[in-house]
């Protein structure tokens, strides 16, 4: 299910460009803040869902993240993508929330499972919400590393520094996450075939 914010995007952009919206927010205009929120809330909520344990935590992260975005907007230099800058804030907010309620990474024996090839159709067949739900079901530690390294593109060293873990742990968690996801996708594919 695509979000309504995305459908509104073109309409909103036809009224005010992204730069105009940011400048309006910097001047403290409430309607610009509202439009900017509506423009990006859907995408940012998807980012939060990937990092949070549940939708309720994701909503909290989204709220905290947007407050940060509006209060630190003067730090945006109008160089590069605004969406990327915003996404970075959301990721950092999610990491802070994770560190506040951190618990030990789950361990399991996935290291010794053989890697199975992933059928691209298995991923394509899933909707965005189903994919987000799948990522959300990843065990806490795997999910953080998988999001940071595989989706956001951070290196293991960077992810390890952000999460306060060893680089080797980060590598290990990513491997486990991939195997877990492959297995889940395979099961879903089999279920669909039946």
């Amino acid at each position: 299910m695509l979000c309504t914010a995305q459908q509104n995007t073109n309409w909103l952009l036809s009224i005010l460009s992204e730069t105009e919206l940011i400048k309006g927010c910097l001047r403290g205009k409430a309607h610009c803040q509202r439009q900017l929120y509506e423009l990006f809330a859907g995408k940012m909520y998807a980012v939060c869902l990937r990092y949070a344990r549940n939708p309720s935590d994701a909503a909290d992260i989204l709220q905290e993240g947007f407050v940060k975005v509006f209060t630190k907007l003067n730090q945006f230099q109008f160089q590069g993508s605004f969406e990327g800058w915003m996404r970075k804030i959301m990721v950092h907010t999610a990491l802070r929330a994770y560190q506040r309620q951190r618990f030990e990474f789950e361990t399991s024996g996935y290291e010794h499972l053989p890697e199975s090839p992933v059928d691209p159709d298995a991923v394509s067949a899933l909707s965005e919400m189903e994919l987000l739900a799948l990522i959300g079901r990843l065990p806490e530690g795997y999910r953080m590393v998988f999001n940071l390294v595989a989706i956001e593109g951070f290196s293991h060293a960077e992810a390890a520094a952000m999460l306060g873990i060893q680089e080797s742990t980060s590598r290990s968690q990513l491997t486990k996450a991939r195997k877990w996801l492959s297995e889940q996708l395979e099961q879903m594919q089999k279920a669909d075939a039946r």
Binding site: Q33, G42, A59, Q63, F66, E115, V118, L131
Partner: protein, 442 residues
Amino acid sequence: MNEGSDRLDELLRRRLQAAAAPPPAHVWPAVEDTLRKRKRRFLLWMFAAGTLSAAAILYLSALRPKAVAPQPEYPAPKQEQIAAAPPSVGRRSPADFASENRAVASPQPALGAEIRPARPLPDADAPLIAPAPEILPAAPLPPAPEIPAVEITAAPRNRSGSAAPLLPGSAIQAPAAAFRLPASPGQIPFTLPRKRKDPGSCYDFTGRPNVWFADVYAGPGLPSRRLTSPDPEFQDYSRLRRETESPSTAFSAGLRGSMLLNRHYLVRAGLHYDQFTEVFEYADPNYIEYTVKVRNELVGGVWQTITDTIGVDYGEHYQKTYNRYGMLDIPIMLGGEWRSGRTGFSVQAGASVNIFFWNRGAMLSPQGVPTDFDRDNPAFRARTGASLMGSVQWFWHLRPQWRVFVEPYFRRMLQPISPDGSPVLQQYSLHGVQLGITKILD
């Protein structure tokens, strides 16, 4: 990392980077509220900083010694005219003084006096027509010889700087204001007029040690709430109430009459109004709404009421309500006042009695459901009872009878506003700053 892993990462990255999900409805109001609170806090701090800075500047300027105003140059003609009066050696007779007086008061120069054009008056405040000087009984004068009229070119100026209409003798009368003729012959008939007190200075409390003041004030504040649950069973309810209600703004305003006794002691009483707002915010992510249709149908000759559920909506229920509480009180306070020049401060404390209390809004019921409260659905006492109040006032005299003031205050309600037997007791303290103006009633 092998090829399979890369492909999975790439597939997921491509899909998830562009993914979007509809955010919950309660997030934007919460963001908006947080931003508003931050802005309000910032403005409150700015206001407090501005008030303190202004108070500090005014206080420092009041402490700085004022430069002594240069003494006005008094017009010379008086002395010159006196000097030019017929010299008398030794004791002068009353007739001499009378003739001098006549020389000063009359446009006709005294016989033999040297007439010079009058200088403009340097002191604009000096009265143009002076009160009549004490004149000793004049002896009959010999008829004055005819003297040609003297043209007076320098006219005295009135307060606005324009030339005052020249009354006969006014050019000479004006300088006479500076004179008092000697009470006894032989004294030099010249005294400096007293410098007038600065009109902006403090009211003269020495002359009137007991006076009435009338104050009008208003200003922002902040409420502080305490929720206590005497019953451990309602601890969770108390926590939920704290989580769903947050304090917002407050303001106070009032009228006050004060009696200053013996220059320093104050008795104050009046009408004081406090209003504060709290935000009630509630979100139920698992909200289910049933739409039920009730119809009456004739079944087997008997009317029956049939209830059908025709719709079930699943979603999130979000409610945000601004709870408002207003109180009108009669405060009675005792205090003391200390002054230094135009500025000073007073400290007062006392009690207030509530005469009117209104409230409306929403809160969680012990069952965890939002419920409205107002006059028709009361949730609190009809009156809030007694409060303790205290304040420190810093004032500045704009004029002798007018003051402006800044007054931080604190108010503590002695009783909870919740009725007896409530699962949670709700009690308030209020603090803020009042800005006002005082008229000294003389």
